[in-house]
């Protein structure tokens, strides 16, 4: 049941008309631009990377140069200019129609908000590793956590963060492992648990950790929540989409997988008349 009366709500709304109270920041001409108490132009732009500013805007957290560099690398890992991937194909199709590059990039990026892949999958990956850690802390072994999850998935190994569409294995994990070592980060408890689960899953199904699993373990160790990670990586596939857009926007019409009428398989009802 609601806790406020209609009159209280009206009074509260009246107090917000034409007025903004921001905890995140804003621009006050003559005074400066502020993000979570930091000065954008005098401090952040001079001393921090773009990725550090992205994380600050998305989460309110100020991360180190090294962590910013690590988190930025994920954008690189997601930037595959292969137009067969669903979000990228939208970029290529928008190139075909000569939609604007902004529209194409946004449209393809939005497609990555999927329950099967890209940024849409991050929440599930983060939630899984955090829940798995809670189970381990309450006494289960990583093997038991894995078996329970597989059982809940009707015997299938498709735990978010482990296994992936189209291929087994994930070359991005090795790249990130190198970067983790280069930047001097240790393997924390969530990432270690992800490795343990990978081992259990590999022994039974030959499936290994994918980039979501690695990211989820690493970023959970650095104190990020699922929602924070989703917010930071909302547009993580954009560069690959743009790449697919420009290739086809610069070509004559109908160069991207042209379809003849009979390339579409009509399986509907037969021809009929309204009257």
């Amino acid at each position: 049941m609601k806790s406020k009366t209609e009159a209280e709500i009206i009074a509260e709304l009246d107090g917000r008309r034409n007025k903004i109270v921001s905890h995140n920041g804003g621009w006050l001409p003559g005074k400066g631009v502020f993000i979570h108490g930091h000065r954008l132009l005098e401090d952040l732009v001079v001393n921090e990377s773009y990725m550090q500013i992205v994380v600050l805007n998305a989460t309110g957290k100020k991360v180190s140069t090294e962590l910013g560099q690590w988190m930025e690398a994920i954008f690189g890992c997601m930037s595959w200019p292969d137009p067969r991937i669903w979000c990228n194909q939208i970029g290529a199709l928008a190139g075909e129609t000569k939609a604007s590059v902004s529209a194409a990039t946004v449209a393809g990026t939005l497609a990555g908000d999927s329950r099967a892949y890209a940024q849409g999958a991050l929440i599930k990956g983060m939630d899984f590793i955090r829940a798995a850690m809670a189970k381990v802390e309450s006494g289960m072994t990583p093997q038991e956590v894995t078996d329970t999850e597989v059982k809940a998935n009707r015997g299938k190994p498709n735990i978010m963060g482990f296994a992936r569409p189209l291929a087994q294995g994930d070359e991005r994990v090795s790249a990130l492992e190198k970067l983790t070592a280069k930047l001097g980060f240790a393997v924390g408890p969530h990432l270690q648990l992800a490795y343990d689960i990978e081992e259990a899953l590999f022994a039974r199904f030959g499936e290994s950790m994918n980039i979501v699993g690695y990211m989820s373990g690493f970023l959970a160790d650095h104190g990020f929540t699922a929602e924070e990670v989703y917010r930071v990586y909302a547009v993580s596939v954009m560069s690959g989409v743009t790449g697919c857009y420009v290739e086809y926007a610069d070509q004559p019409a109908n160069q991207f997988l042209p379809l003849r009428c009979d390339d579409i398989d009509y399986v509907g009802v037969g021809i009929r008349s309204v009257r």
């Binding site: 007025k19 903004i20 294995g169 398989d265 009509y266 009257r275």
Partner: protein, 266 residues
């Protein structure tokens, strides 16, 4: 820790179809060019036949359901579409459209931008699926009992499809619902929802546009996941109209919060 050999990349043997299938549309090619369609058919009806003999609403229904609607279904959908054609200039999605317009963004971006906002889960298309599933789950129970239960256990902001606007009842949507309920096409779900809102009046709550649309879609037999996109489509004309109205006006044609009314707490 597994070694990296465990992560060696091997393509799966997923079997993808050779051709995309559709039950919706048939394009018959011209004899001389297989890429050029000579005639198109929507669920079996030639497009010219539909143009000559059907209304726009009938063809929209045909696209989504695969069959032409009955007269009662057509009238129900058409009246809902008119009733909800414009969420009005205070709705967040319309305001997004107006910001797009007044900001001189390319007009072809007005609809996609506004439709994204209209896909949200609060008073937008994103709430329809949950509401339709709520009907499926509950409509065999007395509406009064379901209302009592929801009023006792859940915050009014979390009720699927029904509740309050600005702390009170949505008067216009209540009137729209009464109008639609009088139509022959109004079915069991709308009637159940009407009983449900009678009970919700106790909490100064009732119909919301998304609840009304969800009830109509349920009675028309739409899939719950289709509800959100159809809601975006229904509201699209209003979004475009308001966005474009401001496109032709100066940047200063919408309020801009003054610095003294912008407080940064940090």
């Amino acid at each position: 820790m597994s070694n990296s050999a465990a992560r060696e990349v091997k393509r799966r043997d997923d079997v993808f179809v050779e051709k995309t299938q559709t039950k919706i549309w048939l394009e018959k090619p011209s004899e001389s060019n297989p890429y050029i369609a000579e005639t198109s058919y929507c669920h079996g009806y030639e497009i010219f036949d539909l143009m000559k003999n059907c209304s726009l609403v009938e063809v929209i229904y045909l696209l989504f359901k695969g069959e032409l609607p009955t007269e009662a279904q057509k009238t129900l959908l058409e009246q809902l579409m008119i009733g909800l054609i414009n969420p009005g200039p205070r709705h967040a999605a319309t305001r997004a459209a107006m910001n797009t317009g007044v900001g001189k963004t390319n007009p072809v971006h007005i609809l996609p931008i506004a439709a994204i906002v209209m896909g949200g889960e609060r008073d937008c298309g994103g709430a329809i699926e949950d509401t339709m599933r709520f009907f499926r789950k509950n409509f065999r129970q007395p509406a009064e009992d379901v209302a009592e239960q929801i009023m006792a256990t859940e915050n009014v902001e979390d009720w699927p499809g029904f509740g309050q606007i600005y702390g009170g009842r949505d008067i216009q949507t209540t009137r729209l619902a009464e109008t639609l309920l009088a139509l022959e096409g109004a079915g069991d779900i709308m009637q159940w929802a009407a009983n449900y809102v009678v009970a919700l009046a106790k909490a100064n709550a009732g119909w919301l546009p998304v609840g009304l649309a969800a009830a109509v879609f349920a009675d028309l037999g739409f899939h719950p996941k289709l509800g959100g996109p159809v809601y975006q489509m229904i509201t699209a004309p209003g979004l475009i109209a308001h966005g474009f109205e401001l496109y032709t006006k100066p940047l200063t044609s919408m309020p801009y919060v003054k610095d003294e009314d912008y407080e940064i707490k940090n």
